[in-house]
């Protein structure tokens, strides 16, 4: 601690990790409660952060409360390390906490995420922090907070299945593709934040700690390591994840979540891994997809490789 204090590597106009110590303590208490009751939404005194609600204020407060000077931070937005939100949040913590940052999933000790869980399986000791816009999975069907709290308290979750029923009756299958409700540890129905349902199975028995922060709604919830997480479904319409007929155009992966990218205005498009680190890592190891040599596709790939450089130039 002393050594850290001596050579403060962060902007000393701020307390370490931006939030004051009392606030971090309060959030840690909420986190402990959340970990003790998997899937239960713990209210906390959310603070104003220097960015707008909806951009990850909840996730940032959780990250600020769990991060230490020796941590390595990775921030992803829609699976990518190089989008505006990810770059800004990473730079923010570099400045106010002086922590090392990385794009490599395996090197990070804290990963703040929006919309994705990294393709590479997480390890024990890693912390995955989700940014959550709407923590209440029942909200769309039951607008009253007093009522949804009772429903959670008494485990009255029939309404959740009404939502899935509506999907099947309209589309013939469960058409919910993101924010797909899960049952945590056999007790609480939880919204997994807007991750694609492709990622839902990764939450089950994950070795990492998963923390969820909702800044606007001021709720924190968590899934401790090795916890049962079941996606809700019907007996005759079981839960299924998305599948693509294509492989990733750049790295050829067939088991990852793919984004469709429009390349030109002549109908050119490709499907690439949404997890940019996963894709780049595979390409480095020599895996090639069908469009790996295409100049337009390469241009897209290059922009993600150089993001760290641009970020440093920006400072």
């Amino acid at each position: 601690m002393n050594a850290v204090a001596k050579k403060a590597s962060w902007d000393e106009a701020y307390n370490f990790a931006y939030l004051d110590e009392q606030t971090k303590r309060m959030i840690r208490r909420a986190l402990l409660k959340a970990v003790a009751i998997p899937g239960y939404q713990v209210p906390f005194g959310g603070r104003e952060m220097p960015l707008a609600y909806g951009w990850g204020t909840g996730g940032m407060q959780v990250t600020a409360s769990v991060i230490g000077p020796s941590d390595t931070l990775k921030v992803i937005d829609q699976g990518a390390d190089d989008t505006t939100n990810a770059v800004s949040i990473r730079r923010f913590f570099k400045r106010v906490a002086g922590v090392a940052t990385t794009e490599a999933t395996e090197e990070a000790s804290v990963i703040q995420t929006r919309h994705r869980i990294p393709e590479k399986p997480l390890k024990e000791g890693q912390v995955l922090v989700y940014q959550v816009p709407q923590p209440e999975p029942l909200r769309k069907l039951e607008p009253r907070e007093t009522e949804t709290r009772k429903m959670h308290g008494y485990a009255e979750y029939g309404l959740m299945h009404v939502r899935l029923y509506e999907d099947i009756s309209r589309f013939g299958h469960i058409a919910t593709t993101y924010s797909y409700p899960v049952m945590v540890n056999g007790r609480y129905v939880m919204s997994p934040s807007p991750i694609p349902k492709f990622d839902n199975p990764k939450m089950e028995n994950n070795k990492a700690i998963q923390l969820f922060g909702a800044g606007r709604e001021k709720r924190i919830y968590a899934i401790p390591p090795y916890t049962r997480v079941k996606s809700l479904d019907f007996d005759d319409h079981p839960f299924e994840v998305q599948r693509w007929p294509q492989a990733c155009a750049l790295c050829g992966a067939r088991n990852s979540y793919l984004d469709e990218v429009v390349l030109d205005d002549k109908g050119g498009r490709m499907f690439v891994c949404s997890d940019t680190h996963f894709c780049a890592d595979r390409q480095e190891k020599g895996h090639r997809g069908p469009m790996a040599a295409d100049p337009a596709a390469r241009a897209f790939a290059r922009s993600s490789e150089t993001s760290e450089q641009k970020e440093d130039d920006g400072r």
Partner: protein, 270 residues
Amino acid sequence: MSALVLSESLGTTVRQPLMRATGVSKSYGDTIGCLDVSFTLHPGEVIGVVGESGSGKSTLLNVLSAQLPPDAGTVEYDLRHRGMSDIFRLSEPDRRRLMRTDWGIVHQNPRDGLRMDVSAGGNVGERLMAIGARHYGEIRAEGLDWLAKVELDASRVDDKPKTFSGGMQQRLQIARNLVTRPRLIFMDEPTGGLDVSVQARLLDLLRGLVRELGIAAIVVTHDLAVVRLLADRLMVMRHGRVVEEGLTDQVLDDPHHPYTQLLVSSVLQV
């Protein structure tokens, strides 16, 4: 009391009552909602509660259906596994379970009883899913079955209730409540706001369902024609008190209390 006499005179055995209210009172500050109401309801029996606006009918119904705690008195219900129990002493989850399985509540305004942005099938299936049904095909089949029972077109099963007419919404509400085979339903002005021909059909339907399924009901209305058709027994309320009660035909054909006489004579004879 009259039910007891009746069942004895018919030579049947005395059955366990389904619900018993004793000295139920509820006031809002100085304003009296209902005062010292007592009655016994037997399985399969339909009790009508009539009276003009402000006579405490709806307050009484809200207390009986556990939506409003009374100031004094008890409401006991014959729970399937525990026998007669005071519904206000049940734990909240137990009471909520009772309300969505063994009871049904048909609101005057279907908007209060339906989820307007969930399809008709989803509305009917909600109670089934709430008690653990997890097979889509079965839930849907049951939903279609109930739509047919309340004379709604099966092709409307995926339409939202907001596209339904008032009468259809009311019938959907009934289907949604009956799907778990409740033993008691509460109805607050079930025909309110419907035109006369639709009222007649709804009443016909209700009478059929109540008789066929042997459901007990407490029907609150200001419409004497509704109770004449539906109710076995009648309670006439005024200023929060029950001023007269008895068999429906007896009360309506030979009213004793001056207020009941006024009420009966005010009905327009066509």
